[in-house]
């Protein structure tokens, strides 16, 4: 059935306001997708920053843990028939445990040797990613279901519910981490070690136990990020390297050891990418990431909220 014709003045009014509506929707779209893109980046980086901020350990296996967590969840669901929630929880716990034992089994012997720590964790990443590739976990068939299917219309812009949940989960994680570091004994010990390791030891805090816990938590957070972001696309082994790159980029911009820095860095990077893709060309999104790293390293080497370089220079 054809819709009834609008009276002339209504039709004219709609035509007159159409460009303005399109502009407004375009702006809303930039804000919504800028936020979702930024929170995705924050989720990718937050675990890396947590571990580095507390123990000074650069966990270059972060991206591999993100990937492994996603694949384990897929295997638990599709091969063992476990429910999604159980599979997800199991993966978070297993990868957390893997991070914990990675510290005791390998990183403990390398503490203080920065280059060796990087090489060791990078080697772990390569082993995990390449073994997964060898086992055939590539080919786009490995997909995690979204928590909730469907889209919502916000201010004339359609957004999938999974992306909105992603923003909620990202915000919740930041709040929980804030409360954890300021309201719990373990959180206090994390902050103490981060601020001054020698003084912390003097008051009875075990630095190795704290570092192992931070690596476990950072690894578990990598899986949480994976479980939230992966349903938006598919799981592929190449992602192991990409996620590490994003985590590093966000960390370098915001400050590698700072969680607020990671959040700030991800918003700068996330919005830059969306704005560049909207007003210039999408292929320059990667250039923005790399240019931001170079710029920040040149102007403020510790990152916007980082303190490492400044402390070194003061000493």
């Amino acid at each position: 059935m054809e819709s009834p014709a609008l009276p002339g003045f209504q039709e004219n009014a709609l035509k007159a306001f159409a460009p303005q509506r399109a502009v407004r929707e375009g702006q809303v779209e930039i804000i919504i997708y800028g936020v979702t893109n930024s929170v995705s980046l924050a989720l990718m980086a937050i675990g890396f920053s947590l571990t580095f901020g507390i123990s000074g350990l650069p966990n270059f296996a972060h991206g591999a843990f993100y990937l492994l967590g996603g694949i384990l969840t897929w295997v638990f669901m599709n091969q063992l028939g476990l429910p999604y929630l159980v599979s997800a929880l199991l993966s978070v716990l297993l990868i957390g445990a893997l991070g914990f034992f990675l510290y005791w089994g390998l990183m403990l012997r390398l503490r203080g040797l920065a280059i060796n720590e990087v090489i060791a964790t990078l080697a772990v990443a390569i082993v995990i990613i390449e073994v997964l590739r060898w086992m055939g976990f590539s080919g786009f068939s490995y997909v995690l279901p979204p928590f909730v299917r469907g889209s919502l219309n916000i201010g004339g812009v359609w957004v999938d519910i999974q992306r909105l949940l992603l923003v909620g989960i990202g915000a919740l994680l930041v709040v929980l981490l804030y409360l954890f570091t300021r309201r719990t004994r373990t959180g206090f010990s994390f902050r103490a070690i981060a601020q001054n390791e020698r003084t912390a030891i003097a008051v009875g805090i075990d630095p190795d136990w704290t570092a192992a816990l931070s690596l476990a938590m950072g690894s578990a957070l990598a899986v949480v990020a994976g479980l939230t972001i992966l349903p938006l696309g598919a799981i592929d082994t190449e992602m192991g390297y990409d996620i590490l790159l994003y985590a590093l980029a966000v960390g370098i911009i915001g400050g590698l050891e700072s969680i607020p820095g990671a959040v700030l860095g991800s918003f700068i990077l996330g919005f830059s990418q969306v704005l560049v893709a909207t007003f210039l060309r999408a292929q320059w999104q990667t250039v923005v990431t790399l240019a931001a790293i170079v710029l920040i390293l040149a102007v403020k080497p510790s990152g916007i909220l980082g303190k490492y370089k400044e402390l070194e220079e003061r000493v």
């Binding site: 080919g139 068939s141 190449e238 990418q273 969306v274 909207t278 990667t286």
Partner: protein
């Protein structure tokens, strides 16, 4: 009975069989088929299964009758991993794998051949050097035809028993053009992965569609690893595009079609992305694929088509074998057909390709049999399998539209089982 007597009886029985012309299957030397390709790639793994399926079928009937030898000889497959589908593998490594296979296994013919076009281009000289009859069925570059035409006498042992990128580009453009014919759409927006092959495919489709009367209102190359397509899709929306052509093979590409649907982008979507062209894709992505147009290359390789009876048989046999669903079905049916092309030519020639490759080439050129994608014939001037619009006259490329979990053939017209439908949010 004495041992000597048993021996005499056995020799007598075998002689009698020979005299009567009855093949003694178990004793016959197999016809060896070499398959040097990159087994890291899902497409190559599935191609191997397809070849094994054809070989089992033929061997179950006693093998291929080689008239000059008066026997039926079974087929045997030997493989070599060229690794050319793995990142960073140099062409030289692939060539060495092919050379080693030919030198050590002495195959009677080669099937499938290297995965990457670059490696296949380099393999052409090896094929010529060893006079190795080759039914190549993956690499799509038109460069191979150029090489062949540069010296047909030297390269005559090479046949492409599948599509090539020119056929594929043309068929993709004609499929998208259905929207102009049916709905008067004429505005095209392209999202191409920023790699040479994807940009080339996009450029080819753009040129073809503009020739059909389309206007390109946007062309966005995207960097490998792009994981949010919202800004580009918004551009597509605001440009007034009616057809979105997305081409690439990067791991984050599923994000693009999922966002196309979740953002209700008011365009049709033609996705040039191998992994969404088989039944398995629906298991992975479900309703996110609804209304997406896809094109696995040779007709019937991705899903059965009623107008191609062999494609129905092929998929039925695949299921009966309980083979895993294909991740990437492009050209898998061509690998299967290649074995039957060889069987047909050997039976007509009466000898195996390695016995007299120069003479055997003529029998391959005269191929005319029904395969999964229609009637198989080769163009003598290019040794390219002919693909056109009528499966009774040639092979065909078929495009599909995903609808409620099924790949429905929509192109070409004479094999289509339904007309292209607009997604509900597209006007």
């Amino acid at each position: 009975m004495k041992r000597g007597s048993w021996l005499r009886i056995a020799v007598g029985v075998v002689s009698l069989f020979f005299w009567l012309g009855i093949p003694v299957h178990a004793a016959e030397k197999p016809i060896v088929l070499g398959m040097p390709t990159s087994f890291f790639q899902p497409l190559c793994k599935s191609s191997k299964l397809a070849i094994e399926m054809a070989i089992e079928e033929i061997n179950a009937q006693g093998g291929i009758l080689v008239k000059e030898e008066g026997v039926k000889r079974p087929l045997k497959l030997v493989t070599a991993d060229t690794r050319c589908g793995e990142p960073g593998t140099p062409v030289q490594s692939a060539l060495m794998a092919v050379d080693k296979l030919i030198a050590e296994e002495k195959p009677d013919a080669i099937v499938v051949a290297p995965f990457r076009s670059e490696a296949m281009v380099a393999t052409m000289d090896l094929i010529a050097k060893y006079k190795m009859v080759t039914l190549q069925s993956i690499a799509q570059t038109p460069k191979l035809i150029e090489i062949f035409k540069g010296d047909p006498e030297k390269y005559k042992y090479w046949f492409r028993a599948t599509t090539n990128s020119v056929y594929v580009g043309t068929a993709a453009a004609k499929t998208m053009d259905l929207a102009r014919v049916l709905f008067k759409h004429n505005k095209l927006f392209i999202i191409a992965q920023d790699t040479l092959w994807a940009r080339a495919a996009a450029d080819a489709a753009k040129a073809k569609l503009e020739g059909f009367g389309w206007t390109t209102v946007g062309y966005e190359p995207v960097a490998v690893g792009t994981n949010d397509f919202s800004a580009i899709l918004s551009k597509a929306r605001s440009s007034g595009a009616q057809m979105l052509y997305v081409v690439g093979d990067m791991p984050t590409l599923p994000v693009c079609f999922k966002q196309w649907k979740s953002m209700r982008i008011p365009t049709m979507l033609f996705l040039d992305f191998a992994v969404v062209t088989s039944a398995k894709a629906w298991k992975s992505y479900g309703e996110d694929l609804d209304y997406v147009m896809v094109m696995p290359f040779p007709g019937g390789t991705g899903a059965p088509v009623k107008a191609l009876p062999k494609s129905i048989e092929f998929h039925k046999k695949w299921q009966e074998k309980k083979y895993p669903d294909m991740d990437d079905p492009r050209t898998v049916s061509s690998a299967y057909d290649a074995i039957y092309i060889l069987k047909d030519a050997i039976e007509r020639a009466g000898f195996v390709p390695s016995k007299d490759p120069d003479k055997f080439v003529g029998f391959l050129e005269a191929t005319d049999l029904e395969g999964v994608s229609g009637r198989i014939k080769f163009d003598k001037s290019s040794h390219q399998q002919i693909f056109d619009g009528d499966p009774k006259e040639s092979s065909v490329i078929v495009s599909y539209q995903w609808r409620a979990g099924k790949m429905v053939p929509i192109y070409p017209e004479n094999v289509a089982e339904a007309k292209l439908e607009l997604a509900p949010w597209v006007k």
